[in-house]
């Protein structure tokens, strides 16, 4: 442990990073090394242990236990991948693994953000999508373990040549004043830029709130994209990382944040390597960012998640960056007031920041000019499921599902007819085909008990059952609940159980849903009943009659 830590600072907030160091070098976390790490960080054993066991990417191994195999093959079993045959792939891969001289571990994992190419598999960190046993075998034999750098990424030099950071440099040329700050906020407001992680809070308004807080402000970027069916942030980060970084620096400058933390999900190692390199390059070019009022590039900390959906919840993310279990905080206080390390914190999703340079250079009107049915702006839909051409589709806000499928996705996949769809990943509920003409945007689907959130659209066909998808999603929530509050911790587990009954107990489910929605601490528990309630509301026939069986009971982990 001493050798691994070297001269790194002995700070408890770096605990998760240090656990990664051990996990990467040992393939697991032996408890004796955790004890040594605790000693070094002057923490209690249990404080290290409870953090290590919180994250799925850490394998804690006790003295008497055998270590996991050197190679782990992770198989995504969330919505789109399950629909694309993950449940059949799992036993096939297990059979394949058992035949190898040193059998690797086959592990179910929740969404890894490759839903357009489902089913997705990761050999150690090497992604394969769509995956077959044969493709996995080739990767195993070819000793492919690492995630390659995204090939299409625009690196710093090319980005600069193409005009990257021009907006930031222009801003830096003049001192920041109250007027210039208010003007920036006004432009974002006029563009209608909202939090694109899913909550939809107006970005300019957020800047105003955080800038009013006294004390050293911090900017935190939520790159923990984990909502099943969502892969838009990966899409942008793999292609134009500097457009995002420029947006981040503009926000940091505008709100006067001295340090930036990017919390990146561990499922995107290729992006991690890319950002590491590009941040170094950016810092090396710091002289290009001389400002009129002596502003300097803030410190940029790239922090690594460790396999926990809940850390996409902004306050859980802060806890994780502080080296703790990713358990959401109670509000008030809001993180704008008391956030990371108890300081005022501006938190943004990757995509929200990504649009800022473009909105400021092309004008608020450009962004706001898009839209249908009275909605304004562009939305990046992550489309997966039964469509001909899934992927990230940049489309006008307010577009309907039918339009999105027909105009952007080449229609339904051959042999599939629209049966229903999930407008917002696991959390946003399930709508039937009869509601395929509703406008897709923030606030438009509430009357149907749904929302678009991160705009992860999963399209279902006559070959799918809403109850299977709902059950899969509830199993996901159960797996990802942080375990802090009763309604979510216990509620998701009970709901999974109830949803396995051929005929559902609608009254009990309603009662359970009410407490989860009303009394859970965070959005995970509050939204978790949505797929279940959607089935009761929009697909009652699937769960009303006797004799209906669950297709994949083993997907209940």
């Amino acid at each position: 442990v001493l050798a691994l830590l070297g001269n790194l600072p002995r700070r408890p907030d770096l605990l998760v990073e240090y656990l990664h160091l051990i996990q990467d070098s040992q393939g697991c976390l032996p408890v004796e090394m955790l004890t040594a790490l605790a000693e070094e960080l002057r923490m209690a054993q249990t404080e290290v242990f409870e953090v290590a066991t919180f994250y799925h990417h850490f394998d804690v191994v006790k003295e008497a236990e055998t270590r996991p195999p050197a190679l782990t093959i992770r198989v995504c079993d969330s919505g789109p991948c399950a629909m694309a045959g993950a449940e059949a792939l799992l036993p096939a891969l297990q059979q394949y693994a058992d035949r190898l001289p040193v059998p690797p571990r086959i592990q179910r994992v929740p969404c890894i953000g490759r839903c357009a190419e489902a089913p997705a598999v990761v050999v150690h960190q090497y992604p394969i999508a769509p995956a077959t046993v044969q493709a996995v075998d080739e990767a195993v034999r070819g000793n492919r373990r690492d995630c390659p750098l995204p090939p299409d990424a625009l690196r710093l030099e090319s980005a600069m040549a193409e005009g990257g950071y021009a907006v930031l440099r222009k801003l830096l040329a003049a001192p920041r004043t109250t007027e210039s700050f208010e003007s920036l906020c006004a432009q974002l407001q006029a563009a209608g830029l909202r939090g694109l992680g899913g909550a939809g809070f107006p970005a300019g308004r957020k800047w105003q709130i955080v800038s009013q807080q006294a004390g050293d402000r911090i900017l935190v970027v939520n790159a923990d994209e984990g909502e099943p069916g969502t892969f838009k942030d990966r899409h942008y980060l793999e292609r134009r990382p500097h457009q995002f970084l420029e947006g981040m620096l503009i926000a940091a400058w505008a709100v006067d944040c001295r340090s930036c933390y990017i919390y990146l999900r561990d499922e995107y190692p290729g992006i991690r390597h890319l950002l590491q390199a590009e941040i170094v390059a950016l810092q090396a070019a710091a002289s290009a960012f001389a400002s009129a009022d002596g502003w300097q590039l803030p410190e940029i900390h790239l922090r690594r998640g460790a396999g926990a959906y809940i850390c996409g919840e902004e306050s859980a993310m802060l806890e994780s960056i502080e080296g703790k279990r990713g358990m959401p905080r109670l509000r008030p206080p809001y993180i704008a007031e008391v956030g990371l390390f108890d300081r005022p914190t501006l938190a943004h999703n990757v995509e929200t920041l990504y649009w800022i340079p473009e909105i400021l250079s092309r004008g608020a009107d450009w962004f706001a000019s898009h839209g249908r049915r009275g909605r304004k702006g562009l939305r990046s839909f992550s489309v997966s499921g039964r469509v001909a051409d899934p992927g990230v589709k940049l489309a006008p806000a307010g577009i309907s599902l039918r339009e999105l499928v027909d105009e952007y996705c080449g229609g339904m996949a051959p042999g599939h007819e629209l049966y229903g769809y999930l407008p917002g990943g696991a959390s946003g509920g399930i709508l039937p085909a009869s509601l395929a003409d509703e406008p897709l945007d923030f606030d438009t689907l509430q009357k149907h008990g749904c929302f678009i959130g991160s705009a992860a659209v999963i399209v279902l066909s006559q070959h799918d059952r809403a109850r299977d998808v709902a059950h899969n999603m509830m199993a996901f929530f159960r797996h990802e609940s942080c375990g802090q509050c009763t309604p979510c911790r216990s509620g998701t587990a009970k709901a999974v159980h109830l949803m396995q009954a051929p005929a559902w107990d609608a009254d009990l489910m309603q009662d359970l849903s009410v407490v989860m929605i009303d009394a859970s601490i965070c959005g995970l528990g509050q939204a978790a009943p949505n797929p279940m309630l959607s089935v009761l509301k929009h697909f009652p026939k699937e769960v009303a009659s006797e004799g209906v069986e669950i297709l994949n009971p083993e997907s209940n982990r």
Binding site: L34, R42, T46, E47, F49, P332, C485, D518
Partner: protein, 865 residues
């Protein structure tokens, strides 16, 4: 909670179920509601703990908010409309209760579970949900049983362990419905680093962690015949507790909200209560058989010790003892007798004992084990600042910015005091730990000064030098409040940190940093223990600490001062009561004419005007034959004296040794008469803790057999020594005490009955007691403190080629005062059955020593850990 609203505290008015409700500044909706008599169910909330808001049973509906809010964590705002009894709030809390009842079914919970109570109140009888997976029981700990099938994941035990006691053993591991309470790294409780403070037992609302019925593998029953509010009989912290009793047996103990412990206890207070019910108890008066030899050379009290004695009636035993002592007095003079009282006995017993020696024996030959612990501290304190007591209470660390702990290991010796220190360090106060050994507290320290044994004065003088050298001395304080500064300055002139660093093994830079930290902070407090006082230069060590504090002006305000951590539960009170050879009660010197006049008049007698002999001198006098008879009440010098062979020899040569105790101790083995006395829970009396709090202990048990109250025994012996005494009740003795002691004049027995604890100095009935003293003057003739320089003196024995190591004695958390009580407590002895030697692991490897090997020393041998 139930205090009336003070007009000067800003209140917020909000609406609660349609009624106006007032909240104090800082109050939550829950607290305001409860004060207003509105009940809201809670589970994860516990008074005094940080609210966590995880159970979601206390949810209320706030107008204008999308979801419900946890009333335990929400502060009301003016005009806020809150509903406890709305349909949504009711539905939500009922369902939360139903979920928890399915996870933790009624049969798994303890009978007075908070969950069962609230579920019944809310009409949640049965759960419609299936039970979760079963977790195996963990009965690995001798004192506690863990049944996670009753756990509702409320985290109260985690907060208790981590935030209150700061023992950091319990954690919350994994996540979702697999989230689980763990000890260390999911180890069985019994093999974890758990220190068995039992805070978790007290914190748990459902009985997932329960005390065991002593010596069995069963959980202790919750229903008891009676509860008695009393005190912990062990260390000087003076924790208040409640005994839970059925059929004259203590079943379990709860911490009580006393000023020094606020419901916290340690393993001794929680589990060490059964010594009083041990079958070894002395239950019949015993007289040594004629001619049965006193064999001073023994290892342990032999199993057949009773063969040396015959049973006697009380009348016969008291005559033998009392008339025998009287005979020696009459034949050989008053100074041929001596008495050892005890710091474990009450103030009343100490007072009456010293009065018996001074009047009945006729000399000042009375002392107790304070001589072996803080006598050197008291000597230096009396000399320097005119008072031997602490300047500030332990809980004052909450106001301190710097806490300097030197030569003390409070996590073992004063565990609950240590919790306040750890709390302060967590809050951000700088903790400096100076000790040759790296103690538990070091993990919480900003600076650890691991100095070489015996170089205390060098280290302290270097600190003083640095304070003066760097211009950090408080000129004004020195000018106005102290004498003799020049002598200190000159004395440390040659003791720069740079010069002392090679001696004490602490880098000069560190010494300077600590000096700056200490002198510059708004409030710095010093705690010390036996590591400072038990040296040939113990008094010098304390003189240095006093000087450091005075020249820095770090005394006389909240959070700053001097605190010698008192060891035994009543060592402060026994000394206050005059159980020392050179002082009458209240530290009035026996050779001070005013004091003599006052006490001769008060006791209506003539007194010996010369100081008597100390514990050590009495032993010497006994072996010379100058002291021929002794009365020992509750002390065990044949085990606690630093030179055991000498002490046992001396005791064996006495013409008459009267021992009054509850167990056949090593001293009793050498006695002529053994008088069976009462244990702490069997009597009522007052005890004074390290914080100068006079506290009331109440009788909880009937004594076994013919064992009698100590006060009664003293009174009976007094009558046989010619005194016409008739003290029947402790309150009579206490009322006499406070008439003779100005410091406690304002503490009446009635007040103690009502308040349980009163801090002295307390001058009159209206005086609330003074927690911080020396605010504007010191209790010396001039009102100023004297700075006393100290030079470097080496220990009498230094390491040599044959014995290259220094042995530092220390304590085990579970054991206390020769083990007479703790070795007879089932849980304490089960957790730590043996005393051991600890060495640095590198050194063990170098020597090739395995745990269990006996390590020889000049003074005996002990097994290595």
């Amino acid at each position: 909670m139930n205090a009336p609203i003070r007009a000067d505290v800003l209140a917020v008015t909000f609406e609660l179920d349609g009624q106006p409700c007032q909240a104090l500044a800082g109050e939550t909706i829950l607290q305001a509601a409860r004060r207003a008599g509105v009940e809201i169910p809670t589970l994860c909330y516990k008074d005094g703990y940080r609210p966590d808001g995880n159970c979601r049973v206390c949810m209320v509906e706030i107008e204008g908010e999308r979801v419900l809010a946890p009333s335990c964590c929400r502060a009301p705002k003016p005009g806020m409309k809150v509903q406890v009894e709305s349909a949504r709030a009711i539905a939500s809390r009922k369902l939360v209760l139903e979920l928890l009842m399915s996870d933790a079914p009624a049969e798994e919970q303890r009978s007075d579970s908070e969950l069962l109570t609230w579920a019944a109140r809310e009409g949640v009888v049965q759960s419609r949900f299936p039970q979760r997976a079963h977790t195996p029981l963990d009965f690995s700990h001798p004192g506690m049983a863990v049944n996670l099938d009753a756990c509702i994941q409320c985290g109260r035990c985690v907060r208790g362990c981590r935030e209150e006691q700061v023992n950091d053993v319990i954690g919350y591991a994994w996540r979702g419905d697999a989230a689980k309470i763990v000890f260390d790294m999911d180890d069985p409780m019994g093999v974890s680093t758990c220190v068995a403070c039992g805070e978790c037992v007290q914190a748990c609302p459902t009985g997932a962690i329960m005390p065991k019925l002593l010596g069995t593998n069963e959980v202790a029953p919750r229903e008891v015949e009676k509860k008695v509010d009393s005190l912990c009989p062990f260390c000087g912290v003076g924790c208040q507790l409640t005994y839970n009793i059925t059929e004259n047996r203590i079943l379990f103990v709860d911490g009580r909200d006393g000023p020094s412990n606020q419901s916290r206890l340690c393993v001794k207070g929680r589990f060490g209560f059964d010594y009083a019910m041990n079958p070894d108890r002395l239950t019949v008066p015993l007289i040594r058989k004629d001619g049965y030899p006193k064999e001073p050379d023994f290892d342990r009290v032999p199993a057949n010790w009773r063969d040396a004695f015959r049973e006697a009636t009380w009348e016969e035993a008291l005559d033998h003892a009392g008339l025998g002592l009287a005979r020696i007095r009459d034949e050989h003079g008053p100074r041929s007798l001596a008495g050892f009282g005890s710091a474990k006995c009450s103030n009343e017993e100490a007072y009456l004992f010293q009065k018996l020696v001074r009047i009945g024996f006729g000399s000042n030959n009375v002392d107790h084990c304070t001589r072996l612990c803080h006598a050197s501290s008291v000597a230096a304190l009396l000399e320097g600042i005119g008072s031997g007591a602490v300047s500030n209470q332990v809980s004052d660390v909450q106001f301190a910015d710097v806490i300097f702990v030197v030569g003390a290991n409070p996590t073992a010796n004063h565990p609950v005091a240590a919790t306040w220190i750890k709390n302060a360090a967590k809050r951000g106060a700088k903790l400096v730990v100076a000790d040759p050994r790296r103690t538990e507290l070091a993990r919480h320290a900003s600076h650890v000064l691991q100095f070489k044994a015996d170089t205390d004065v060098a280290l302290f003088n270097a600190l003083i030098h640095a304070v003066i050298d760097e211009g950090l001395a408080d000129r004004r304080f020195i000018e106005e409040r102290t004498l003799n500064f020049e002598a200190i300055r000159d004395n440390v002139a040659a003791c720069s940190p740079e010069a002392m660093a090679p001696l004490c093994g602490v880098p000069a830079q560190t010494i300077r940093e600590v000096a700056r930290l200490y002198a510059r902070s708004k409030a710095s407090i010093i705690f010390w223990g036996m590591g400072v006082s038990q040296h040939v230069h113990g008094t010098d060590n304390v003189r240095c600490l006093i000087s450091l504090s005075l020249i820095s002006g770090q005394i006389g305000r909240p959070g700053t001062g001097l605190h010698p951590l008192r060891g035994q539960n009543n060592v402060q009170g026994a000394s206050d009561a005059g159980l020392i050879p050179m002082m009458f009660p209240d530290y009035r010197r026996v050779d001070d004419l005013g004091a003599i006049e006052r006490f001769e008049k008060f006791w209506n007698t003539s007194l010996d005007h010369e100081p008597g002999l100390t514990v050590v001198e009495i032993m010497d006098a006994a072996s010379r034959g100058d002291v021929r008879g002794m009365y020992v009440m509750g002390e065990n010098p044949a085990m606690s004296d630093p030179d055991l062979r000498h002490a046992r020899q001396a005791l064996a040569t006495l013409d008459l040794l009267v021992v009054q105790d509850i167990f056949p101790t090593e001293t009793a083995w050498l006695a002529d008469v053994i008088l069976p006395a009462t244990a702490f829970p069997e009597k009522t009396g007052t005890f004074t803790n390290t914080d100068r709090m006079v506290q009331l202990a109440r009788k909880a048990l009937e004594p076994p057999g013919q064992a009698r109250q100590d006060l009664w025994i003293i009174n009976q012996l007094a009558r046989r020594l010619g005194l016409d005494w008739n003290y029947d009740e402790p309150q009579r003795v206490f009322e006499e005490m406070r008439t003779s002691m100005d410091s406690i004049a304002g503490i009446s027995w009635e007040r103690l009955l009502a308040e349980d604890s009163v801090t002295y100095p307390c001058e009159d009935a209206d005086d609330p007691g003074q927690p911080v003293v020396f605010i504007d003057r010191f209790p010396t003739i001039t009102g100023k403190a004297s700075l006393v320089p100290a030079g470097l003196i080496a220990a009498d024995e230094r390491p040599d080629a044959q014995y290259p190591y220094v042995l530092i004695t220390g304590r085990q958390l579970e054991h206390w005062h020769t083990g007479a009580m703790t070795r007879r407590s089932y849980v304490l002895d089960a957790i730590e059955p043996e005393a051991t030697v600890a060495m640095h692991s590198d050194e063990l490897v170098r020597l090739g020593v395995k745990p269990g090997k006996w390590c020889p020393s000049l003074r005996g041998a002990a097994p290595s850990a």
